[in-house]
């Protein structure tokens, strides 16, 4: 998009060049006010270019999403395109999500126990750990692992296919690349991120319990009673609903980055990196906005309840 470097660098280079020419030139140099006007015009035009190109990219991404949904509802992808993606997302990602979930549960117990201990509330530990896991950490952690493990791989794979003309070859043989490549990946992320989230939740709950019970000697009766008091079905629903949004965002962002990959190894590397960075940012933004929305929904359903 910027063959001569990003606008801010061009501006910096122009400023340096202008400065050097100012130093080197004789009395024929332009007046200070003219130079300031020139710099200001450059600055405004660079930012304008950046805003326009961002709008174009956003519009293009929206069209990409629209096309994915259109193909998804018009024709079901063939099994041979679905199963490998289901396996990659649903099965291959399971161990890593389970492992990170366990450690997060243990770390939560470790960090919260000393804090709650100051107030003599150690018995409440189960509620704190499990609520945090089910509502926030489970979905966000599973999504982050999916973005890192599967999203980057999707972007790199599709990017390589773009660079080596395999995506063009698909079109040339009458297959729609979005239907053939994007829809199966989208469905895999959409269907399997809830299972990954449940796995992260479960392993986190188990890890937190074992650490609290065995290491901290917290009575299991209080641990589970407080957990049941704090965590309800709506919390579980919140986590799983969020995960569906996260999974959709990860697959769409990764596939879009892969489809719009620039030429060469550098282009593929950038597509993989930017897919993770964008997906992670979007996960956090979605987490906040969905958290606020679901809080409002909960309060309207249960006016006296505490979210």
């Amino acid at each position: 998009m910027y063959p001569w470097g990003a606008p801010q660098y061009r501006r910096a280079r122009r400023l340096c060049t202008n400065f050097m020419s100012t130093v080197a030139s004789d009395n024929s140099k332009p007046q200070l006010s003219t130079r300031i006007t020139g710099w200001f015009t450059d600055w405004v035009s660079d930012w304008g270019e950046l805003v326009i190109s961002s709008c174009v990219s956003l519009g293009d991404f929206c069209l990409f999403i629209f096309s994915t949904f259109r193909w998804m509802f018009s024709r079901i992808p063939r099994g041979e395109t679905l199963w490998p993606n289901f396996y990659q997302v649903g099965v291959s990602s399971l161990p890593v999500v389970a492992l990170t979930g366990t450690f997060i549960g243990v770390v939560l117990a470790l960090q919260s126990s000393s804090q709650l201990g100051h107030y003599g509330l150690t018995n409440q530990l189960g509620g704190v750990i499990n609520l945090t896991l089910v509502r926030e950490l489970g979905p966000v952690l599973a999504a982050t692992m999916l973005a890192g493990r599967v999203g980057s791989a999707m972007a790199a794979e599709l990017g390589t296919m773009r660079v080596t003309e395999q995506i063009d070859a698909l079109s040339a043989m009458g297959a729609d690349p979005i239907h053939y490549l994007v829809v199966p990946r989208f469905l895999a992320c959409l269907f399997f991120i809830p299972t990954l989230t449940i796995m992260a939740d479960f392993m986190g709950v188990a890890g937190g319990y074992f650490y609290s019970n065995i290491w901290l000697n917290i009575d299991q009766h209080y641990y589970w009673t407080n957990s049941a008091k704090f965590v309800n079905n709506f919390d579980l629903f919140t986590g799983i609903l969020k995960s569906l949004f996260f999974g959709s965002a990860i697959s769409l962002i990764s596939c879009y980055q892969g489809f719009n990959c620039k030429a060469g190894a550098e282009g593929v590397g950038k597509a993989a990196t930017s897919s993770f960075v964008f997906a992670f940012i979007v996960i956090l933004i979605l987490d906040l906005s969905l958290g606020l929305t679901l809080k409002a929904v909960y309060e309207s359903w249960y006016p006296g309840g505490t979210y």
Binding site: R78, T160, M161, T164, E165, Q166, D168, A169, S171, A172, M173, G174, A175, D176
Partner: protein, 277 residues
């Protein structure tokens, strides 16, 4: 014989490119290209790198959207077709990519069978027979069926690409630099395969190439493009359109440089223009 009859007849063109222009960002790659290709003809598209040969070919198949102009295939304007209509239309094309563009994740058998599985309603047995038959036509043994593209040499991959393009019996075959990167013997094998494909059925072919040997061996007609930067004011990008013999006797300096493979003052021109083609 059949091909000659077809060529002799005053037929309507199967590919009709009218005033085609393609621009990428600020770069105008093609401008005002007009080209008619009658059925059964083998057209060699020549020109130095960056002159827009591949872009022209990709525009004909609808992979690149033209900025303006019209492209008709068998009387249908392909730019006005919906995605589905275009997908159906593409069954009538065969496209051999420069680096074959085989799908890395599939075996050779799955690659060649891809168009059949995508569109045809064939049984597994029929597909297997058709794949093996196409592979043997391009001189590949049955044992390659289970191999992955990465396990094959460049020449073998190009032949697999040819087998894949031919499996749906297309009416128009497009070859993107079919002999680039191959040794002289393998280049001639590919040339022979292009000729054999044509002799089996009167297919229309477009061959994008830099290789004068390929052009003189397989082409009925040669069209030469030139990069926009090298044009004189008001000049069209198609600087030559005729037979191979006419190409060899053409007096245009740029055509002669290309035919004889001479750089001449090209390096100085590139330096003066500040671009490297």
């Amino acid at each position: 014989m059949m091909i000659e009859q077809l060529l002799d007849q005053e037929q309507e063109s199967i590919v009709d490119v009218e005033s085609l222009s393609v621009t990428f960002g600020n770069q105008e790659v093609l401008k005002d290209i007009t080209l008619k290709i009658p059925p059964g003809q083998t057209l060699a598209l020549l020109g130095e790198s960056g002159c827009g040969k591949t872009v022209l070919m990709k525009s004909i198949i609808g992979l690149v959207k033209p900025t303006c102009g019209k492209i008709e295939f068998d009387g249908e304007n392909i730019n006005q077709l919906t995605e589905r209509q275009l997908s159906r239309m593409r069954l009538r094309y065969g496209f051999i990519f420069q680096n074959a563009a085989l799908f890395d994740s599939m075996t050779i058998g799955q690659n060649v069978a891809f168009p059949l599985r995508q569109h045809g309603r064939f049984s597994d047995n029929q597909i297997r027979e058709m794949v093996l038959s196409r592979l043997s036509e391009v001189g590949l043994p049955d044992s390659v069926v289970f191999k992955k593209p990465a396990e094959l040499s460049g020449g073998m991959r190009k032949r697999v690409g040819l087998a894949r393009a031919l499996i749906m019996n297309p009416e128009l075959i497009m070859y993107d630099e079919p002999t680039t990167g191959l040794d002289p013997i393998m280049s001639d094998v590919i040339n022979e395969l292009i000729l054999r494909t044509r002799s089996r059925n009167p297919v229309t072919s477009i061959v994008v190439t830099h290789d004068m040997h390929t052009a003189s061996k397989v082409a009925d007609r040669v069209v030469m493009l030139i990069p926009r930067q090298r044009l004189d004011p008001g000049e069209n990008q198609v600087i030559f359109d005729g037979s191979v013999k006419e190409l060899e006797t053409c007096r245009d300096r740029r055509v002669q440089q290309f035919v004889n493979g001479e750089a001449g003052e090209r390096l100085m021109e590139m330096r003066a223009n500040g671009h490297d083609q």
